[in-house]
Subunit: 129 residues, 2 copies
């Protein structure tokens, strides 16, 4: 029905991040790679059975994925979500979920890279002033 084409994008982003090929995900889940591909580019809308099968291998929480797909009403906020809100800032749940799959030292390396890029952008590195 092409209800929500952003679901496919989210699924694809997650698959590439894991990382997996369509064929690998296909053998893990029993869903054909062609069907998975169509889902990712929004040409097909996954049934509940399909959605359930791909949740695990992609590292999605089933309830969250079903909510993203519009199959379940938005869940009451969990403790996990409270944990990631801080001060005035809010951490995007998708970002949080993806990063949480990395080892903590990788997570911190990511932060270091970000701070480097920010300082470059502001022209505050030693050699540039």
């Amino acid at each position: 029905m092409m209800t929500n084409n952003n679901l496919g994008a989210i699924i694809k982003q997650q698959r590439v991040m894991v990382p997996l090929t369509l064929q690998e995900l296909a053998t893990m889940t029993g869903i054909s790679p062609s069907h998975l591909g169509r889902i990712e580019r929004g040409e097909r809308f996954p049934s509940a059975h399909v959605l359930r099968k791909i949740a695990g291998p992609l590292g999605f929480d089933e309830n969250e994925l079903f909510t993203l797909a519009g199959y379940l009403s938005p869940q009451p906020p969990t403790i996990a979500e409270a944990e990631v809100s801080y001060g005035g800032g809010r951490l995007d749940p998708y970002v949080s979920r993806v990063l949480a799959q990395e080892p903590v030292d990788v997570q911190r390396a990511v932060i270091s890279i970000l701070s480097i890029l920010k300082s470059i952008a502001k022209g505050m590195t030693k050699e540039s002033r």
Copy 2:
């Protein structure tokens, strides 16, 4: 698929108990009475969208009904387990705090960069074996 499920029987029992006729439930949910009837006697298997629409009027909790239908794994996480874990991973609080202060699109850009680095690293591993 005519999966031999007692789901239809459970739904019918609830509807009669409420009590509602098929037509009344139909007007409340927007699902045709004929379809609802076939679901109750197991001739059709309700999609997630249909299941979601009938949950409320019948007094079912959505998650419970989805679990009964085999769409969700038997019931989930206690509050204790929910903490800061996403799909088995854990997000470092410091990382969470720092990232939360960036705009969401920057947060997502960070994820994209991580993805690029991982694919580069993957290529290096391949090369060295």
